[in-house]
């Protein structure tokens, strides 16, 4: 928006002011760390089938499901809510599609049917969240916690407790295919994210969500339909999580009922916060959430690459994220600015005043 200023320098300045700027910096730093360990880390080569291969490509592929649930989470958070059920919706989506494809012929038609089924089921789960929050009036945290716990149980019931496996080329392609040498899964996720961004900003959904999140009482009196908006947002979040579930299971064509989507809701929340959307609701930033999701994926890969022991992984992640949140906090930023402005900016301001 403000980046349309004059010249690349102004554009850069606009970027620096964005909250997600530090997310981009963190991604670059993590890549640098990896580069220090292995100078060839960033290399991208053309693989045997003509597709690009390399660590960066792996990161993008891994980021796809996180991008989707982060975008959904971002919208929910804007309304001052939270959706803890996204990880469980992912596993339900995986279970439904694997169970369906297990008995279906390996055709494009049944692949599409499986995806259609996922959309319906995940929208239904989202609608339950929406109903608990808007009609019953439960706290979003509690409502979605219920679905988070029930969802994994539901997945186990659907597969009979098994880790169901199936084959379907079309379905598999969504995760493992390539378009123009790039992983299809990343492009699909990006496409969905852009579509959501357009939906929200081209319609008045974004304004309504912000109004609701900033001041529910005033928004209600202004005629904003809280109930319909909450339904919409939780359903959108559910459907996006359903797609994330498809991507997560399609790569191995197996649903792991205890591990698919496990604790990914936390990653999504982190991605949203890193992207500059406050958990207190109101103004939200979808681009930021996407960048946050890529950062989380980079962090995951880095942890593995550096060989951090799996027990220390959460602590490592925590340190990076705390550092990032500190950098973003208004207070710290103001302190930085003050130190700089004490020397340079102050006199300039004086002049403006005098003029």
């Amino acid at each position: 928006m403000s980046a349309n200023a004059h010249g690349p320098f102004e554009a850069l300045k606009g970027l620096v002011r964005r909250q997600y700027f530090w997310g981009i910096v963190a991604i670059a730093l993590l890549l640098l760390v990896n580069l220090a360990k292995d100078p060839g880390y960033l290399a991208v080569s053309v693989g045997s089938s003509g597709n690009l291969v390399g660590n960066v490509i792996d990161i993008l592929r891994a980021a796809a499901p996180i991008i989707l649930i982060s975008v959904g989470m971002c919208l929910v958070v804007a309304t001052r809510g939270i959706d803890l059920s996204v990880g469980s919706v992912m596993v339900v989506a995986g279970a439904v599609s694997m169970e369906f494809l297990k008995g279906a012929p390996d055709t494009v038609g049944s692949g599409l049917a499986a995806i259609g089924l996922v959309v319906v089921v995940s929208a239904a789960l989202g609608a339950v969240n929406g109903m608990l929050v808007s009609v019953v009036g439960l706290q979003p945290f509690i409502s979605t916690l219920v679905i988070m716990l029930a969802g994994r149980g539901l997945a186990k019931v659907i597969t009979g407790g098994q880790n169901t496996t199936a084959t379907n080329e079309m379905f598999r392609w969504t995760a493992n295919g390539h378009v123009l040498g790039l992983p299809a899964v990343f492009l699909l996720a990006l496409l969905l994210a852009v579509a959501m961004g357009l939906l929200v900003r081209r319609s008045a959904l974004g304004l309504m969500l912000e109004a609701l999140g900033m001041d529910a009482k005033a928004a209600r009196l202004a005629g904003v339909n809280r109930r319909a908006l909450l339904f919409t947002v939780y359903i959108l979040s559910g459907v996006l999580a359903g797609f994330a579930g498809v991507f997560a299971t399609a790569s191995v064509m197996t649903v792991d009922v205890s591990r698919t989507g496990y604790q990914l809701e936390l990653d999504a929340i982190l991605a949203v916060v890193i992207g500059g959307t406050s958990l207190a609701g109101g103004k939200f930033n979808i681009t930021g959430a996407v960048i946050g999701a890529i950062l989380i994926a980079t962090l995951d890969k880095t942890v593995v690459f550096l060989g951090v022991s799996s027990s220390a992984t959460p602590a490592f992640k925590a340190v990076v994220i705390v550092a990032l949140c500190l950098l973003q906090s208004e207070r710290v930023r103001r302190a930085f600015r003050k130190r700089r402005s004490a020397v340079a900016v102050r006199p300039a301001e004086r002049e403006k005043v005098a003029a």
Partner: protein
């Protein structure tokens, strides 16, 4: 009381915000034992000057002396330390705490084992008593109180600490005559104890009733300091707006009465009521008619308005609009039927602080269309342009977050929001709260013009004179029920309405106390 030394002396104060020079070398002197009124149009810089004195804003230039010593105020704590106690323009209490906790916040009575809540609440009760709020239960949640009472609670809070300077920024904006009188009694007694009082109000009657000295600001500049008796109203107004205009004339002139067509009412409610808010009531609204709601604080004016708008759900009664039954159970439904409601509570039920002026203006129009049908940017700009200029919103910058506007200008934006929905029925609860006299006359004229063209207006104001002046028909409320309905016109005046209210229920002495209890429990 004569020329003693000023306790507060501000000189050459300048404050700039990005794009606005809010104060430009302004001075202010406060003397002990004097009531000093700060006058100026909306956006003149009154609140900003007050915030400079209370340490909310850092001053760019100038000097503040307190008791003769130059002071650097780094924050509100410094100002409190210096004995300055403040009630800001927007009531800033914690609505999730009790009344007593709000009053005593930071001044809780401490015993050996931490805070002594019993003593704290007792102290709160005593403080409230001074403002005639003795009937309130300090343990009641603040949120349950009407805005005017919250305003009084905020004032009580400022009087807990012994202060040398008391600042009241538009404390009377939603009070009616009795409460104002009560407040003035307290102010006078503090003044006689030697407290310096800084007062802001857009009501000239109040200004002349209470103040000893005036400072006038215009466009962020210092116009002058005067003894109140040296300056008559016309002079004062011309100092404020910078030209000789009889703004008062249009206020006083009573508009020609509209002739009501005998057609069926546009809106007709039979027996609508809600437990604890308002008893069953009948009310009709016609096209092209202004209906006023008169009544004292707590009579149920706002409650009735909220019921009509669907902000609260009626428990009983039936509503017909254009001869068909209408279910108005939410604001969205009311808007769909072209009813608009401007709440008295600008801060909590009006503006959305972090949205821009443009977004605040179009919000209701957009909400009625639904999110899937966005208002094209060109239409948005047209709406913004129309109402920003019609209502005189300043600064006229649509992309500025609304929280950066002065209180009166925020109120104008809100009015614009409701006018932009082009309603058939417009419910205005204290619509000109905090708006300066010049703009007030213009806005009243504007609304009257819309009524001439067929708009139906339901008008609520704590100033009975204003209700009489504006309305074609007046519904009088008392103790949550309707006691009379008067055709406006020759016979009706503020006194006659006050009499109707006073005479009602004289035969039944228990009525008054019964309601008191209802309020406290």
């Amino acid at each position: 009381m004569s020329e003693s030394l000023p306790i507060v002396e501000m000189a050459g104060i300048s404050i700039s915000f990005p794009g606005v020079k809010a104060l430009d070398e302004v001075g202010l002197r406060l003397f002990p034992g004097e009531v000093h009124t700060l006058m100026g149009e909306n956006g003149a810089g009154k609140s900003t000057l007050i915030k400079a004195l209370t340490g909310v804003y850092r001053i760019d230039e100038g000097e503040i002396r307190i008791s003769g010593e130059p002071r650097l105020l780094g924050g509100t704590a410094d100002a409190q330390h210096a004995g300055i106690s403040t009630v800001y323009q927007e009531v800033n209490l914690c609505s999730n705490l009790t009344i007593g906790e709000n009053v005593m916040l930071g001044h809780e009575v401490r015993g050996a084992a931490g805070i002594n809540w019993r003593a704290t609440h007792r102290a709160a009760g005593e403080t409230l008593e001074k403002l005639g709020l003795g009937h309130l239960n300090p343990k009641q949640a603040l949120a349950t109180l009407p805005l005017a009472v919250q305003q009084l609670v905020a004032i009580s809070r400022s009087m807990v600490a012994q202060c040398k300077v008391l600042i009241l920024d538009e404390p009377t904006s939603s009070l009616d005559a009795n409460e104002v009188e009560q407040l003035f009694t307290v102010i006078r007694s503090l003044r006689d104890q030697g407290v310096a009082i800084l007062f802001v109000s857009h009501f000239l009657d109040q200004v002349y009733a209470i103040s000893d000295r005036l400072t006038v600001l215009r466009n962020g500049r210092f116009e002058g300091e005067y003894r109140t008796h040296e300056l008559d109203r016309a002079q004062l107004i011309s100092k404020m707006i910078g030209k000789d205009v009889d703004a008062l004339k249009s206020l006083d002139a009573k508009g020609a009465r509209r002739v009501r067509s005998d057609a069926a009412p546009l809106y007709s409610a039979k027996g609508i009521g809600r437990k604890g808010a308002i008893e069953e009531i009948d009310i009709d609204l016609h096209r092209g008619e202004v209906v006023g709601l008169a009544g004292l604080l707590g009579s149920g004016r706002t409650e009735l308005a909220r019921l009509i708008y669907g902000a609260d759900r009626p428990d009983t009664g039936e509503v017909t609009m254009n001869d068909e039954k209408a279910e108005i159970t939410s604001p969205a439904k009311a808007l769909a039927r072209r009813i608009a409601f401007s709440s008295e509570n600008r801060r909590d039920e009006g503006i959305i602080r972090d949205l821009s002026v443009r977004e605040n203006l179009i919000l209701a129009v957009q909400a009625r269309r639904g999110w899937a049908r966005p208002l094209p940017r060109r239409e948005q700009d047209a709406i913004v342009e129309k109402y920003v200029s019609a209502l005189g919103v300043r600064p006229a910058d649509p992309e500025r977050p609304i929280r950066l506007l002065s209180g009166g200008n925020q109120q104008k934006v809100l009015l614009g929001r409701w006018l932009a929905t082009e309603p058939d029925i417009l419910i205005l609860d204290e619509p000109t709260r905090g708006i300066d006299i010049g703009a007030k006359a213009e806005i009243q004229e504007y609304v009257a013009g819309l009524a001439d063209d067929g708009l139906s207006v339901l008008f609520i104001s704590s100033e009975i004179e204003e209700v009489v002046r504006q309305s074609d028909r007046i519904v009088v409320l008392k103790d949550h029920r309707k006691i009379a309905e008067l055709e406006g016109g020759q016979g009706v005046s503020a006194e006659s309405i006050v009499n109707v209210i006073a005479e009602d229920g004289l035969g039944d002495p228990s009525a008054d106390t019964a309601v008191r209890e209802e309020v406290t429990t």
